[in-house]
């Protein structure tokens, strides 16, 4: 067996998984505050990338300024969406909330399209394009930044949800909105904060992906769908799970791409995450780290 090949696949899987983990974190944040799944997460990512692109190539801002402004925009976007769409739905059926996010994804896609068209637009190289050699394989620098972001995010978010008053209040809101109201928690505010944070995290993912790929277009939003198995695998309400899930799926994709694809003639790389997902759910129905839903009478 070719050890270098194996190592190359594993390391590449790890770094690619870091982006998955980052995007997955966005899902988890919203889930933790509202127990809803935001299926427009991929579009958040796309919007973030386009905003940053605009700032960089149209206004020629330095990268860090562009990022900060993108953050502000994303946060506003998140809060706006909460105000206009999520707030009226407080207390409605979970599926309705999910479906609304699907409608939202159409809207965001259409808006981007109206403004930027459907062409793939080149993304400026904000960090050096020279890949870095990790062991036997060169890795795009963008992925290294992703790993950095993910590490910081996990630590901060885990602490936030566990110890901060707001973090706990968010989880309380997810548990029962009505009771949260009687505690004096502003459910609206919790939603707004979580959507804002989630949109910002996604924007980071979008910017990183944009630089890694060199160009952005509508297909960026596909990342939302791509990351779903990651979120589920890790457990919907677990930040740690998002990371572990991202890494597992990243590595799995690469291994099956390297070893199974040649046997079956392609396609294994894309289904492998889903097969793994089903297998793992059989044994751990709430993902690897997800909390079991309490069903008691």
């Amino acid at each position: 067996m070719d050890i270098t090949f194996l190592l190359q696949l594993i390391i590449n899987g790890l770094v690619v998984g870091s982006i998955y983990a980052l995007v997955a974190t966005g899902f988890v944040i919203i889930y933790k505050a509202s127990s809803a799944l935001n299926l427009a997460q991929g579009e958040f990512l796309m919007v973030g990338a386009y905003i940053c692109l605009n700032l960089l190539s149209k206004y020629h801002l330095p990268f860090w300024q562009a990022i900060l402004i993108t953050f502000v925009f994303s946060a506003i976007l998140g809060m706006l969406i909460e105000r206009l769409i999520l707030r009226p739905l407080i207390g409605s059926h979970l599926i309705s909330v999910i479906m609304v996010t699907l409608g939202l994804s159409s809207i965001l896609k259409a808006l981007i399209q109206l403004v930027y068209g459907t062409d793939t637009i080149p993304f400026p190289e904000v960090f050096p394009s020279a890949p870095v050699q990790i062991g036997p394989i060169p890795v795009s620098q963008g992925y290294l930044y992703a790993i950095g972001c993910v590490t910081i995010l996990v630590t901060v978010l885990t602490m936030f949800f566990k110890y901060s008053k707001t973090g706990v209040a968010m989880r309380a809101t997810a548990s029962s909105q009505q009771v949260a109201l009687t505690m004096g928690i502003s459910v609206k505010k919790m939603f707004a904060i979580s959507w804002a944070i989630s949109a910002m995290v996604s924007a980071v993912g979008g910017i990183l992906l944009g630089t890694i790929r060199g160009g952005i277009d509508m297909s960026l939003s596909f990342m939302g769908l791509k990351v779903l198995p990651v979120v589920i695998l890790g457990g919907l309400d677990s930040i740690l799970g998002a990371i572990v899930g991202g890494v597992i799926i990243g590595v799995l994709e690469n291994l099956s791409g390297g070893y199974v694809d040649p046997l079956v003639g392609g396609g294994a790389k894309e289904v492998a995450p889903y097969i793994a997902l089903i297998l793992i759910l059989m044994f751990k129905p709430y993902g690897l780290f997800g909390k079991k839903k309490i069903e008691r009478v």
Partner: protein
Amino acid sequence: MRCGDFKTSYSADMTIFESNSARVMMGLFLCLLFSLPLYTPGYLLDIVNRIGIAIIGAIGLNILTGFTGQISLGNAAFMAIGAFSSGYFGTKFGLPFYFCIPLAGLMTAFFGMFVGIPSLRIKGLYLAMATLAAHFIVEFLIVKWESVTGGVAGLSIPAPKLGSFTLNSDARLFFLIFIIVIMAVLFAKNLFRTKVGKAFVAIRDQAISAEVMGVNILKYKLLSFGISSFYVGVAGALVSYQAKIISPETFPVTVAIDYLGMIIIGGLGSILGSIYGAVFITLLPELLRLSTSALAGSFPLLVAKLAATKELVFGLFIVIFILFEPSGLAARWHSIKNYWKLYPFSH
């Protein structure tokens, strides 16, 4: 004036139609419906046919998701299974459509029950994602299993034949589709008046106490997956006749999402809602397409913007509908009906 509830026997209290006038209205509606092919141009009839198919599929999904509470994103895959098995039986064994369609339903039901097995342990969004996973796995298998499915090239489906009579036009397919639609609606309506259907709803509302009421949860969940998939499989078979060529690309995951949209916009756990939702979600893109292409004729350079606008409007419609009708069109219909029934004493 009809006012209040004056039932004299329990069986009268349990009928589908509340009064004789409702029955007459329904009869009139059916006459109108079945005379459609007489005066509707083919391309419109094609849309009507697609609505019919969507109704069957949406009822199927609603049985599982709306009534039993098991969110499924596997509808497109189930449909594909129906379509390909019907196509396979039809082309490889030359079976006539009236065998192919039920067979497609059964195959899909079988597969649906298989997918449903983990539902005893996997719940809620996790189950939804498991069905999504099932979608991608099925897609993969369809692409790979070329000897049966024709791979990416797909299968070419001959028009269904009844003896020497070929159902090769939209009007003829219309009758096939809508007869099945009526059977599907009636069966579902009845189902939820009786034991099995009520057990489904019980599982959705309170699985634990349903179990204590003597409902075998696994059995009924599987049954729900089975019945739902049967419906969806039949819908898939009909799609194959309508599309004439089916390939993996005919059943992308967006189809599953559209179906979810139908039952939410129409009303979860409502047969009538499934119908409204199917009509709405099928018509909306057509209407938008028609209006954009009408505009595009006069402003060809605008067409790209219009295309994006179409998507925007679609998204807006979905959002607005859910915001203002969170419990679906069927619920709104009921409250309007009740309002008029008691008018002018509605408060």
